[in-house]
């Protein structure tokens, strides 16, 4: 079952930036894109476990800092020709606060 949890004020995550959250379910990377959408995925690259939260965000994609795989944040899938995926978590913004469902 998904439980909504309050994370932080929206302004704490810069546009095209990310926040790493340590949760009981492991580390989660929370991204904010230019259009102010929020995406939360496991902070482990499907390639060799790189911390995606440290990558460069462009459009709705993040590039892993270790070996440059690209992950599509809308699907959680690696961009072809790489293959693999990360778990996604629902997010929402209410009154300028970020929430995540674990």
């Amino acid at each position: 079952m998904n439980l909504w949890k309050k994370v932080c004020p929206l302004e704490q995550i810069p546009r095209l930036g990310a926040m790493r959250i340590e949760t009981p379910k492991g580390a989660i990377a929370l991204f904010r894109t230019r259009d102010d959408q929020l995406f939360a995925v496991t902070d482990r690259c499907p390639h060799k476990g790189g911390p995606l939260s440290q990558g460069i965000v462009a459009g709705h994609e993040v590039t892993c800092p270790l070996h440059g795989w690209r992950i599509d944040l809308t699907t959680g899938e690696a961009v072809s020709p790489d293959k693999g995926c990360v778990t996604r978590y629902p997010t929402k913004v209410e009154e300028e606060w970020v929430w995540i469902a674990l």
């Binding site: 994370v7 930036g17 959250i21 340590e22 009981p24 460069i56 590039t63």
Partner: protein, 813 residues
């Protein structure tokens, strides 16, 4: 609003390639309809030779299967030949009456084989070779009949002859020229080739003109008669005597045609709504019969169909490779030369090796290689880029030493490598895996191979090997990248040089402004272009342009090197490699307090604390700062280290104070961002214990002053630094070095080390700016000082501002 309609006539290699390029740029712009006279989806025509030789089944030559057309919403009419273009009502009509209206029309009708005008040329058993139907007819004939005659000793003829011989026929090649491939090879190489092919069982009749073909009792061809009246037996005759561009359709529609359909540099015909690409066109008086130029045309044409309007096609230099297994030949450019040319040749008759390089002035203009074609791609690149070769002329014949870089244990012959040999040491990719990926996915470029296999996508030292493998698998289709004209990434068609220029001339100050002004295709760019743009902005407009942390790689954002497990490393600066008890104590204390798992001496004369948690970084920096330690920038495209030897301060041989000068240089350049990292060294005498010979800038103290060397590199590919000049005082060293580094900062492309920059612009150019022109040198040095004004230690700044990069949330139950 209705989408504009694009109609393509010709479903071959050039037409489909243009569509692929167009879909990359503007996937939704057009409603697309394709007409193809053949009943097959687009296949790789050049592989028909391998199909005939029995090396590849036909299905493997398909480039775009019917689902590709479907997924892109393309209406495909197979087996329908277009017979009329109505330019008034903008409509094309096919043989069976099917019609389609267009807003833009693309003609890619290819060419047809030429047929010799001799009696009997329409007999049963006389064919030419263009498509899969012809190939099937040849295979079928080879099963029933014995004697084949191939007319024409060009590329196509020889590949036909080879294939038929492999299928068991006795084959005679009849050729009118004095040697084989006379349009691709000089006489010597042509004769070597003939010998190798004779050893494979082929027979040749050179300088022989065909007069007539005669039928047997069954009406099928039975013999070929020559101008001298002699005859040879033949129950299959293949004519491979050249091609004729298919222009009839265009001609009937009133479009201007000469040998081909005439197009301009944007691939438009005389009717601006109608474009044309491929073998059917004539551009600046030239028609082409190889696919590489067609791919270049496709790219430019797609750019204009997508209405980006920036690309120009200015013609192609082509290269040749013959696809006959076991025969290595390569030729490119003006291989025959002219009376003004110099020739460098190499022959080793018993090994069957022959090489000829044609040089005019400062440039390589042509090359013929036979028996050893390893360096073909490199020569081709030199020819295409028109690179100056004066400085490397004496070693040109020995190849680029491009291969055998560290990590490949001297491996330098892709062809000789077994399939299970590792090509890319970083990603563990074997030769077999690369070959399979090229074949299975129809890859054509180095970029494609990088994407699909990861080979050569990390440190890049195997790039030469991968290029060779591509060249071997693809033959002449392989086009090495024109590095100078390569766009930064898929987000733009502009090159590094063009973007740098625009930023300077239009005074662009932020990434969004660059992207908007220069028409970036993606709103945010990507992980390749953003760091480059950020560097160009801050180096061109220091103190004015905005530095964007989100466009820096994590190491530069976090002021620390990320490790494989997501922890970081901390490398404090030790000026000139010197330290003292206070610093050492502070390092020992933080290591103990924060339980740093590994402490290591780096190759850059300082200490590395490895395995630090991101949250601890600011705390460690704060404590190190108290002892006066600042960031060593071990993570940045910036000044790294200045290595020194003990020098005249202590050493019995020292002539100059290397430690002192090293520290002065390091302090003067502290905090300098650059296209790539910059490493210096200062040695006190020519024994050179600080290894100045492999540094971006190396100084060697001699009795009478200092020698300055630039452009060395000790990394992926060892590069010996080149002598710039000799100066007398430490002050001069700092000014000359500062000026050179500023020149590199202003003109270097992102991720180009000084050695690559120097190879691009040439040592003479740098000397002219730095050594021979004092005003220029001083101006450069002053600009460097200006950009370094007010530089702060990034660590103490991050501590003071409580940089957000370190905020990590904990969520516990």
């Amino acid at each position: 609003m209705r989408k504009p309609r694009l109609v393509v006539v010709g479903n071959g290699m050039a037409g489909c390639r243009t569509l692929e390029e167009l879909l990359k740029l503007a996937p939704d712009r057009y409603e697309i309809t394709v007409f193809g006279a053949e009943p097959h989806p687009n296949y790789n025509r050049i592989l028909l030779s391998s199909v005939l030789a029995g090396e590849v089944p036909f299905v493997e030559t398909i480039l775009n299967d019917p689902t590709w057309y479907e997924t892109h919403g393309i209406r495909l009419h197979l087996g329908k030949r277009v017979v009329e273009i109505d330019r008034i009502s903008q409509r094309v009509v096919a043989e069976d009456g099917t019609s389609a209206e267009y807003d833009r029309l693309l003609l890619a009708t290819g060419s047809s084989p030429a047929i010799l005008p001799v009696p009997g040329n329409d007999l049963h058993g006389v064919i030419s070779w263009r498509d899969i139907a012809d190939t099937e007819a040849m295979i079928e004939a080879s099963q029933k009949y014995r004697h084949a005659v191939v007319i024409g000793g060009g590329l196509l003829g020889l590949e036909a002859a080879n294939g038929l011989a492999l299928r068991g026929m006795t084959v005679t090649v009849v050729h009118i020229g004095a040697w084989l491939l006379e349009r691709q090879l000089d006489r010597y190489a042509g004769e070597l080739l003939q010998k190798s092919l004779e050893a494979k069982g082929l027979r040749f009749m050179l300088q022989t003109e065909t007069r007539a073909l005669h039928p047997g009792p069954d009406g099928r061809v039975q013999s070929v008669e020559f101008a001298d009246g002699s005859r040879v037996e033949a129950d299959l005759v293949v004519m491979a005597v050249g091609i004729r561009p298919n222009i009839e359709l265009a001609q009937r529609a009133g479009l201007y045609c000469r040998r081909g359909i005439v197009v301009n540099d944007t691939l438009q015909t005389y009717d601006p709504k109608i474009y044309a690409v491929g073998e059917c066109v004539e551009h600046r008086g030239v028609t082409y019969g190889l696919v590489a130029p067609l791919f270049e045309q496709a790219k430019v044409c797609a750019n204009h169909l997508a209405e980006f309007g920036i690309a120009r096609y200015t013609g192609s230099v082509t290269s040749t490779k013959l696809k006959v297994t076991g025969i290595d030949l390569f030729s490119a450019g003006n291989f025959m030369g002219s009376p003004q040319s110099d020739f460098i040749t190499f022959t080793d008759p018993s090994a069957g090796v022959y090489k000829k390089l044609v040089i005019e002035g400062d440039h390589l203009v042509g090359a013929v290689l036979y028996g050893d074609t390893v360096d073909g791609a490199w020569y081709f690149q030199l020819i295409k880029d028109r690179q100056k070769i004066t400085e490397i002329r004496h070693q040109l014949m020995f190849g680029p030493h491009h291969l055998g870089n560290t990590g490949h244990s001297g491996e330098n012959r892709a062809a000789a490598m077994p399939n299970d040999a590792e090509v890319c040491g970083c990603n563990g990719v074997t030769k077999g895996a690369i070959v399979a990926a090229i074949k299975a996915n129809g890859l054509f470029t180095l970029e494609d191979v990088r994407k699909h296999t990861k080979a050569s996508s990390s440190c890049g030292s195997c790039t030469g090997l991968v290029e060779q493998i591509l060249a071997n698998v693809l033959g002449s289709v392989y086009q090495p990248n024109n590095t100078r004209e390569k766009p930064i990434c898929d987000c733009t068609d502009l090159t590094h040089a063009e973007v740098r220029q625009a930023i300077r001339e239009q005074k662009l100050l932020s990434i969004p402004q660059v992207m908007e002004t220069l028409g970036w295709r993606t709103p945010d760019g990507c992980a390749t272009c953003r760091p480059a743009l950020n560097y160009y902005l801050i180096s061109t407009w220091p103190h004015e342009a905005q530095d964007d942390p989100q466009s820096r790689f994590i190491n530069e954002r976090a002021h620390a090197n990320i490790q494989k497990d997501g922890t970081f490393s901390v490398v404090p600066r030790m000026w000139g490699g010197l330290t003292n008890p206070t610093e050492l104590r502070a390092i020992a204390d933080v290591a103990e307090k924060f339980r740093v798992p590994t402490i290591k001496l780096t190759g850059g004369q300082r200490i590395d604390l490895l395995g630090v948690k991101k949250n601890d970084l600011p705390k460690i920096w704060a404590e190190l700062g108290k002892a006066g330690l600042v960031s060593g920038h071990a993570y940045g495209k910036s000044l790294r280290t200045v290595k020194t030897c003990v020098g005249a301060e202590h050493c019995r041989f020292g002539t100059q104070k290397s430690m002192g000068l090293g520290i002065r240089l390091e302090k003067a350049l502290f905090g300098m961002w650059s296209p790539h990292k910059v490493k210096l060294a200062v040695s006190g005498c020519p024994r050179n214990c600080a290894e100045s010979g492999i540094k971006d800038v190396g100084i060697i103290g001699v009795d009478s002053g200092f020698e300055i060397y630039i452009g060395g590199n000790g990394g992926i590919k060892t590069e010996v630094a080149q002598f710039l000049c000799k100066v007398k005082s430490e002050e001069e060293v700092i000014e000359y070095v500062g000026a050179f580094l500023q020149l590199y900062r202003e003109e270097g492309f992102y991720l180009e080390r000084t050695c690559h920059y120097l190879a691009r612009v040439g040592l003479d150019y740098v000397k002219a700016q730095i050594v021979d022109n004092p005003e220029k040198r001083q101006a450069l040095y002053e600009r460097l000082l200006y950009s370094l004004q007010g530089v702060e230690d990034p660590w103490q700044k991050a501590v003071a501002t409580q940089d957000r990069e370190y905020a990590i949330m904990e969520m516990t139950e």
